[in-house]
């Protein structure tokens, strides 16, 4: 399988005052096109750090990150921003919608940033909203939606521009089990119907079981990788 994401000896050391805090100590990881990968591990083991680096939000201390054939670690800050625009979709534990914009406004803003010009793909938008069961919420603002609905809008926004990889950091962390189920179903459907590559961090073993593969991290290392049935 052709790999969309590959990290080689990825290291990250945070400097807090005069103290070095190692967060990643050489992470080698691959994810193929259309693969759905879950990352698990105890708190503080470096999962979010890994995701931020892979998404181009953070420059690693050492190592290499290849995204869809492009070496992220050799890029300038603005080149990484541009890669993020073209190839990455983010979903966070907090829903992170623009509170002043409706669901549709949030999607259109993402499209505007992505296309630079004002062209937008209304069919894609409709397909997504149907898949995420959000058709009747399109004109609602975030405060007028439930947490599950907000996270689904955030999900729609993250994939509306067909990113090469969807990066999700505990997307169900703030949701009750019912809404968690819905969001996990959505991720599964996005992966199946659109062939969306997904890397998801989760603390929830049940959620991890929905992925193709589970990667176990500990103390800045990858300590295990197993395939789900």
């Amino acid at each position: 399988m052709e790999s969309v994401l590959e990290t080689i000896k990825l290291e990250m050391v945070y400097r807090v005052g005069k103290v070095d805090v190692p967060a990643l100590r050489g992470v080698d990881l691959q994810a193929g096109a259309g693969e759905y990968v879950a990352i698990m591990g105890p708190s503080g083991c470096g999962k979010s750090t890994f995701l931020h680096i892979v998404g181009g939000m953070l420059q690693p201390t050492a190592g290499q990150v290849m995204i869809d054939g492009e070496d992220l670690t050799r890029m300038t800050d603005s080149q990484r921003t541009d890669l993020r625009r073209r190839k990455i979709g983010f979903v966070f534990q907090r829903f992170n919608l623009f509170p002043t914009l409706s669901a549709e406004g949030n999607l259109k803003l993402a499209e505007r940033i992505h296309h630079k010009s004002n062209g937008s793909d209304s069919k894609r938008r409709r397909d997504l909203l149907r898949l995420l069961k959000l058709e009747d919420k399109i004109h609602h603002k975030p405060l007028e939606m439930s947490g599950g609905e907000q996270q689904r809008v955030a999900l729609a926004r993250a994939v509306i521009n067909r990113p090469a990889i969807l990066l999700a950091d505990e997307p169900t962390g703030n949701l009750d089990s019912e809404n968690s189920q819905i969001v996990l179903d959505m991720l599964r459907d996005l992966n199946k119907e659109f062939g969306q590559t997904i890397v998801m961090i989760t603390h929830n073993p049940e959620a991890a079981l929905r992925a193709d593969r589970i990667i176990e991290m500990r103390d800045g290392h990858v300590v295990g990788s197993r395939r789900n049935q």
């Binding site: 921003t81 990455i88 992170n96 623009f98 406004g105 803003l109």
Partner: protein, 396 residues
């Protein structure tokens, strides 16, 4: 304008209103003060033009060296310009000329420069022909009486002065100048017989005849220094000037309003004041927008983080914030215009001030408001664009 910008502006109505008010205040200050300065100076110039004559006529090629007699212009030119001229037995070679069309009145003026009474600087004394001077200018007596023409056998030296002169000068008795005071002019003692208004040219005016007598004798030459020509209507000034030049090539004619010293002096201070007002307005508007946008950036740190997460470039973020500031400034400019216009009518209705709302100043006010908005938002915008994406997106 996109939905995010509009939504943000609506999100915080009070902040938007305050920022708009800041920009509007700057616009109002500039537009109204500029209008006031223009209005006042136009008013002053107009008032001056109402009382002054439109033209001054000098004799050409007379170089008045210091100490020479300043009365070098034959007074008969005044009569020639007003009534025309025919050869006479006395001057048989004169080319006949008709009266200059459009001339209402001409008056001869003698000008004498003397050391100021206190010894510092100079002051001028004018020799005038009261009769024609009052027809040429709006001059009138507010206290006392006019000077006589002093042609009686035993001339008494009489003088009239303006109000300002009485306020700042003392007579020979050491007391403030009043009717009956004695002052020195042309090294003689003159009695103040009247106070006139308004102030036109020299503050001390004596009869031209007396000036002629004291500078060589009126019987030798009936001369003056220049003529003041009042036109029937101010618009005729250029026409009259051309005609005088044509009929009498030896004369030099100057429009009174082109003599800068006469009209601009009082306005220099106002121009400086106007510049100060513009500078203060620029600072106020810029600071208010800066503060408003800065608090906005802090409040929206997480949203900026989301934008960055979505891959928005630095220019995109700077531009989004600048657009918001521009929208607020534009609204502020519009409000400023409305209030300025209302203010103009209110001030003109309730005071005697005049305000000229000139396009130039409206445009300057608008440009200033927008530029201040852009400039004030620039620092917050650049800060926002340079926020660390991870920190911004996890900001509480």
């Amino acid at each position: 304008m996109n939905s995010l910008v509009v939504a943000n502006v609506k999100q915080r109505p009070l902040r938007t209103a305050l920022s708009m008010a800041g920009v509007a205040l700057g616009v109002i200050l500039v537009v109204l003060v500029a209008g006031l300065v223009r209005g006042v100076s136009r008013d002053t110039t107009q008032r001056q033009m109402n009382v002054d004559s439109e033209l001054r006529v000098y004799i050409d090629n007379v170089n008045i060296a210091s100490g020479a007699n300043p009365l070098q212009m034959p007074r008969r030119y005044a009569d020639a310009i007003k009534n025309g001229v025919q050869p006479t037995p006395e001057y048989p070679d004169i080319t006949p000329r008709p009266p200059v069309a459009g001339v209402k009145e001409v008056t001869p003026v003698g000008l004498w420069v003397q050391n100021s009474v206190g010894g510092i600087g100079f002051e001028t004394v004018e020799g005038i022909d009261w009769e024609s001077l009052t027809k040429t200018t709006g001059l009138h007596i507010i206290e006392g009486r006019p000077i006589n023409d002093s042609r009686q056998p035993e001339p008494e030296f009489e003088v009239i002065v303006d109000r300002y002169y009485t306020e700042v000068n003392k007579g020979l008795d050491g007391k403030p100048v009043r009717i009956g005071s004695t002052i020195t002019a042309l090294n003689r003692e003159f009695t103040v017989v009247g106070i006139y208004e308004p102030s036109v040219m020299s503050r001390i005016k004596i009869p031209l005849y007396t000036m002629q007598e004291l500078t060589g004798g009126a019987d030798i030459a009936d001369n003056c220094s220049f003529l003041m020509v009042k036109c029937e209507r101010p618009e005729l000034a250029d026409e009259v000037r051309e005609t005088i030049k044509k009929y009498y090539p030896g004369l030099k004619v100057i429009r009174t309003d082109e003599i800068p010293a006469l009209y601009s002096q009082g306005l220099v201070g106002l121009d400086i004041f106007l510049n100060v007002v513009i500078a203060v307005s620029v600072i106020i508007s810029t600071m208010i927008i800066l503060l408003a946008m800065y608090t906005t950036i802090i409040e929206r740190t997480r949203e900026i983080g989301i934008l960055k997460g979505l891959g928005a470039s630095k220019p995109f973020i700077v531009w989004a914030i600048e657009k918001e500031a521009t929208l607020i400034s534009a609204l502020g400019v519009a409000v400023g215009f409305l209030i300025s216009v209302a203010g103009k009518y209110f001030i003109e209705a309730s005071t005697r001030l005049r305000i000229d709302l000139e396009w130039r100043w409206l445009l300057l006010g608008a440009g200033m408001g927008l530029v201040c908005g852009l400039a004030g938002a620039l620092y917050p915008a650049i800060r926002a664009a340079n926020l660390d994406p991870v920190e911004a997106i996890s900001y509480e």
